[in-house]
C-alpha cells in the first residue's frame, strides 16, 4: 500500500499541485476541462458540416468526410471519457469513502495519456484528417494514401490516438475497479454503494474487457499500414492504377474486432450516464431508488450482453447469415436490462414531490431521450429491418439520441449537480433551465428528422445529396436540421457562459446545497487534499434514505446511524410498496 494518498503531504509547488497532480480531484477537473475543450472543437466541426449540408455547399467532399471523421472521433473520446473519468475520478473516491484512488500515479498518467490522445487526434486535423469515418474500415484505412486523401499520415495519427486512448482507458479502468473493491470505507457494502459508483465500476469492468481487443485490432491495422502485412487487406486490390501487394486478409476481421470493442463502448458511455442520472434523480425526487437490486443485476446484464451482441452492427456486412440471426435475437434481449432501468426511473418519479432544478431537468430530459432512442433500437435490432435501416440517417439519429444526446444530458446534469462540490459555487438556475429547453427541443427536432431521412433510404456519410433523385425530399429536411442545429449549437454558449461565469461569480455554495445523502456532501468546500480531514467516516445506510418516516428532515446522510430502508435491512425497496 505504498502508493496511497495519506502517506504523502499535499504538494506545495504549483506544478505538482495543479498540473502534474496525483490528486484525484484535480485530475477529475482536468478531465472535465480538457473534455469540454475537445467537445467545443467537435461541436464547431458540426456547425461547419451542418452549414455545408443544409445551407450552402462550402466544403469539398473529402473535407466533409475528414470533418465528419474528426467530429465522431473527438466526440467519441469526449463522451467515452467524461461520464466516468471526469466525474468518476472526482467523486468515486469521495462516495466510497477513500482518500484517493488506489493508484494515484497511474491516475495522473491516465489523464495525460488521454490528453495526448486528444491532441494527436487534433494534430491529424492539421496534416489532413482521415476520411474513413470513426470506424476506420479497411481496406480504406489500411492501404495508405492511395485510397484517398487523409489516409496517409492522418490515418496513422488517428490510429496512434486510438492506441493512446486504449492505454489510458486500461489504466483508468483497473484503477477504478481496484478503488471500488478495495478502498470502500467500513459499512460501505456493495449494496450500499451509490448507483453512480456502480455505474463507474461497470464502465471500468467493461472497458477492461474490451479495450484490449481494440488495441489488438489497432496493432494489426498499424502493421498493415506500416509493415505491409495483410491482416485486413485481401489479395488483388486494384487501387490507384496498380495491383496492391497485400495478400489473403479479411476486412471483416477488423469489423469484428472493432465492434467487439465498439458495442460495449456504447455501454461504457451510457451505463455510467444512466447511473449518474438515477443517483441525481433520487435526490430531486426526494425518493428512494426503486428496485436498487434489480438495477445492480441489470448492470451485470449490460456487461454480459454487451459482450455478445456486437454483430448487430454487421448484419449486411457480408457476415455469415447464421451469425446475423443469433446476434439479432441476443440484441433484442438488451431491452430487458434497459427496461428495468426505465421502470425504476418511472417508479422513482411516480407520486414524488419533484424539485425542478436544472440537474433534475437534465435527468428528465435524459430519460425521455433514452426512451426515444431505446425504442428506435428495437427496429435496428431486427436483422431483416436493419437491411433497410443500416448505414442510413436512421442510424445516425438513433445513435445521437442515445450515445450523444442522452449521454451529454447526463453530463450536464452531473455538472450542475456536482458543481458546488467541485468549485464551491452554484451554477445559475435560470440559465440552466433555458439551456435545457433549447437543447432538448433542438435534439428532438434534429434527430427525429434524421430518423425520417432514414425512411427515405438516405445513406449516411454523403457529402452531397444532389446526385440522387430519391434524396430530393431530404433537401428540406437537411435545411431544417441545419437551422435547428445552428440554434442548438448556439445555445451551448449559454451553458459555457454559465459554467465559466459561475466558476468566478456564482453564489457561494453551502456544504450540502441539495440536501443530498452521499459521503461527498459531508465534506467542506473546497474538499481538503486528503478528502476526509480526520478519520474516514463509517457508513450506516445506503444513499437513498429520503422520505424516512418520522424524521426531522426528509433525508439521512449515509453516515447517520439508525434504521434504514437499504439493502442490508430491507430488500432495497421501501416496505410500503403495496398500497
Amino acid at each position: 500500500m505504498s502508493e496511497t494518498h495519506a502517506e504523502h503531504e499535499a504538494p506545495r509547488s504549483f506544478i505538482r499541485r495543479y498540473i502534474f497532480s496525483m490528486d484525484h480531484k484535480v485530475i477529475g477537473i482536468q478531465y472535465l476541462l480538457a473534455m469540454l475543450l475537445l467537445a467545443v472543437v467537435g461541436l464547431a466541426l458540426t456547425v461547419v458540416m451542418r452549414w455545408h449540408l443544409g445551407i450552402r455547399t462550402v466544403l469539398r467532399p473529402e473535407t466533409y468526410l475528414s470533418l465528419m471523421t474528426m467530429h465522431a472521433s473527438l466526440m467519441f473520446v469526449v463522451v467515452t471519457v467524461t461520464p466516468t473519468s471526469a466525474f468518476g475520478n472526482y467523486f468515486l473516491p469521495l462516495q466510497v469513502g477513500a482518500r484517493d484512488m488506489a493508484f494515484p500515479f497511474l491516475n495522473m498518467l491516465s489523464f495525460w495519456v488521454a490528453l495526448a490522445a486528444g491532441l494527436v487526434l487534433l494534430s491529424s486535423l492539421i496534416v489532413g484528417a482521415p476520411i474513413s469515418g470513426w470506424t476506420a474500415y479497411p481496406p480504406l484505412s489500411a492501404v495508405g494514401g492511395v485510397a484517398g486523401p487523409g489516409l496517409g499520415l492522418g490515418q496513422t495519427l488517428w490510429l496512434v490516438a486510438v492506441a493512446l486512448l486504449c492505454v489510458s482507458s486500461m489504466m483508468g479502468a483497473l484503477n477504478f475497479i481496484a478503488t471500488t473493491l478495495n478502498l470502500r470505507t467500513r459499512g460501505m457494502s456493495m449494496m450500499r454503494l451509490p448507483v453512480s459508483v456502480w455505474g463507474w465500476l461497470t464502465a471500468a469492468v467493461t472497458g477492461l474487457l474490451v479495450f484490449p481487443v481494440l488495441s489488438a485490432g489497432g496493432i494489426m491495422l498499424l502493421l498493415d499500414r506500416l509493415g505491409k502485412t495483410s491482416f485486413f487487406v485481401p489479395s488483388g486490390l486494384y487501387l490507384g492504377g496498380e495491383v496492391l501487394p497485400h495478400q489473403g486478409g479479411s476486412p471483416l476481421l477488423w469489423q469484428h474486432l472493432f465492434w467487439f470493442f465498439g458495442h460495449p463502448e456504447v455501454y461504457i458511455v451510457i451505463v455510467p450516464s444512466m447511473c449518474m442520472v438515477t443517483h441525481i434523480m433520487a435526490n430531486f425526487a426526494r425518493r428512494p431508488i426503486f428496485g436498487y437490486r434489480y438495477l445492480v443485476l441489470s448492470l451485470f446484464g449490460f456487461v454480459t450482453l454487451g459482450g455478445v451482441v456486437w454483430g448487430h452492427h454487421m448484419f449486411v456486412s457480408g457476415m455469415s447469415p447464421y451469425s446475423g440471426l443469433a446476434f439479432s435475437i441476443l440484441t433484442l434481449f438488451v431491452s430487458i436490462p434497459a427496461a428495468i432501468f426505465a421502470i425504476s426511473w418511472l417508479m422513482t418519479l411516480w407520486g414524488a414531490r419533484i424539485q425542478f432544478r436544472p440537474p433534475m431537468l437534465y435527468c428528465l430530459g435524459f430519460v425521455s431521450l433514452f426512451i426515444s432512442g431505446g425504442v428506435g433500437g428495437l427496429f435496428n435490432a431486427q436483422s431483416s429491418l436493419d437491411i433497410y435501416l443500416h448505414d442510413t440517417y436512421w442510424v445516425v439519429g438513433h445513435l445521437h439520441l442515445l450515445f450523444a444526446m442522452a449521454a451529454i444530458f447526463s453530463v450536464f446534469a452531473a455538472i450542475h449537480f456536482w458543481f458546488p462540490k467541485m468549485f464551491g459555487r452554484m451554477m445559475n438556475d435560470t440559465l440552466g433551465t433555458i439551456h435545457f429547453w433549447f437543447t432538448l427541443v433542438g435534439a428532438y427536432i434534429i434527430f427525429l428528422t434524421m430518423h425520417y431521412m432514414g425512411f427515405l433510404g438516405h445513406p449516411r456519410r454523403y457529402a452531397e445529396i444532389s446526385q440522387f433523385d430519391f434524396l430530393k425530399p431530404a433537401a428540406s429536411a437537411h435545411t431544417l436540421i441545419s437551422v435547428v442545429a445552428l440554434i442548438t449549437a448556439g445555445a451551448q454558449i449559454l451553458f459555457l457562459f454559465n459554467f465559466f461565469w459561475s466558476l468566478f461569480a456564482g453564489r457561494k455554495a453551502a456544504t450540502n446545497p441539495w440536501n443530498s445523502t452521499s459521503l461527498e456532501w459531508t465534506l467542506p468546500n473546497p474538499v481538503p487534499f486528503s478528502n476526509f480531514e480526520r478519520d474516514i467516516p463509517v457508513v450506516h445506510r445506503w444513499a437513498y434514505d429520503f422520505e424516512l418516516p418520522g424524521g426531522a428532515q426528509d433525508y439521512e446522510m449515509q453516515t447517520a446511524p439508525g434504521p434504514s430502508m437499504d439493502g442490508q435491512t430491507g430488500k432495497g425497496v421501501p416496505t410500503e410498496k403495496s398500497t
Binding site: 484503477n175 478502498l183 470502500r184 459499512g187 481487443v213 489488438a216 495478400q247
Partner: protein
C-alpha cells in the same frame, strides 16, 4: 464453501473483499486485460488460418527443438521466480535476489534463442509480408504474435531487474516481488499457448 453471511461480511467495506492488496489486484486486472489482447490476436490468427487451408508448415525438427528449448528456459525462469517470491515472503532478501537473477538469466536465454530463430527465418526470406513457404499471412501472424510476446518478455526483464535492485537496497518489499512475479508468470503462460498453436501446428512432419 463460504456461508453467505461470511461472504457478505467480506464485501461490507473497510477491507479488501478478495483479501488481496490493491497492488496485487491491480496487477491481476492488468493481466486479465493483457490476456484479452493476446486472445484477440490468437482469434485473429485462427480466423485467418481457417480461411487458408494451405497454411504453411515450415518448422522442421530443428526449429521445434529450438522452440522446446525456449519453452524450457521460460518455464525454468518461472519456477525460479516462484521460489524468489517464496524467499522474499520469508524475508530472505538475498536468496530472493539470487533467484530473480536466475530468472533474468532464463529470460535472457529465451530472448537470445528467440532472436537467433528470428534471424534464421529472416535469412531464409521471411518477412512481415512475405515468406518462401506460401501464404504471406503466416509470417505476418508469426512475427506479430511472437513479437508482442518478446516485447512483454523484454519489459518483464526490465521490471525484474528494477525490483531486484530495489530489493537489494531494501527499497522494495515482498509485495513488489510477488507482483513482478505475477507478470513474469503471465508472460510464461502466454508462451504456453504460442508454442503449440504457432509452432506445433505448423510442423513439417507429414
Amino acid at each position: 464453501m463460504t456461508s453467505e453471511p461470511a461472504l457478505a461480511a467480506d464485501w461490507s467495506g473497510g477491507k479488501s473483499p478478495y483479501a488481496v492488496s490493491h497492488l496485487k489486484l491491480g496487477m491481476w486486472l492488468f493481466i486479465v486485460g493483457d490476456a484479452f489482447t493476446f486472445a484477440a490476436l490468437f482469434v485473429g490468427y485462427g480466423y485467418l488460418r481457417l480461411g487458408h487451408p494451405e497454411w504453411p508448415r515450415p518448422f522442421d525438427t530443428g526449429s521445434i527443438l529450438q522452440a522446446s528449448l525456449m519453452t524450457f528456459f521460460l518455464l525454468s525462469s518461472s519456477a525460479t521466480m516462484a521460489v524468489a517470491v517464496a524467499k522474499a515472503r520469508k524475508g530472505d532478501a538475498s536468496a530472493a535476489v539470487q533467484h530473480m537473477v536466475l530468472t533474468v538469466i532464463g529470460g535472457l536465454l529465451f530472448l537470445i534463442v528467440h532472436a537467433l530463430e528470428w534471424r534464421h527465418l529472416i535469412q531464409q526470406g521471411a518477412s512481415l509480408f512475405s515468406n518462401p513457404w506460401g501464404v504471406p499471412l503466416f509470417t505476418g501472424c508469426f512475427f506479430t504474435i511472437t513479437g508482442m510476446h518478446m516485447a512483454h518478455v523484454a519489459s518483464g526483464l526490465v521490471v525484474l531487474l528494477v525490483i531486484a535492485t530495489k530489493l537489494k537496497h531494501q527499497h522494495a518489499t515482498a509485495d513488489h516481488v510477488e507482483v513482478a512475479g505475477l507478470y513474469w508468470h503471465f508472460v510464461d503462460l502466454v508462451w504456453m499457448f504460442i508454442f503449440p498453436l504457432i509452432y506445433l501446428l505448423s510442423m513439417r512432419t507429414r
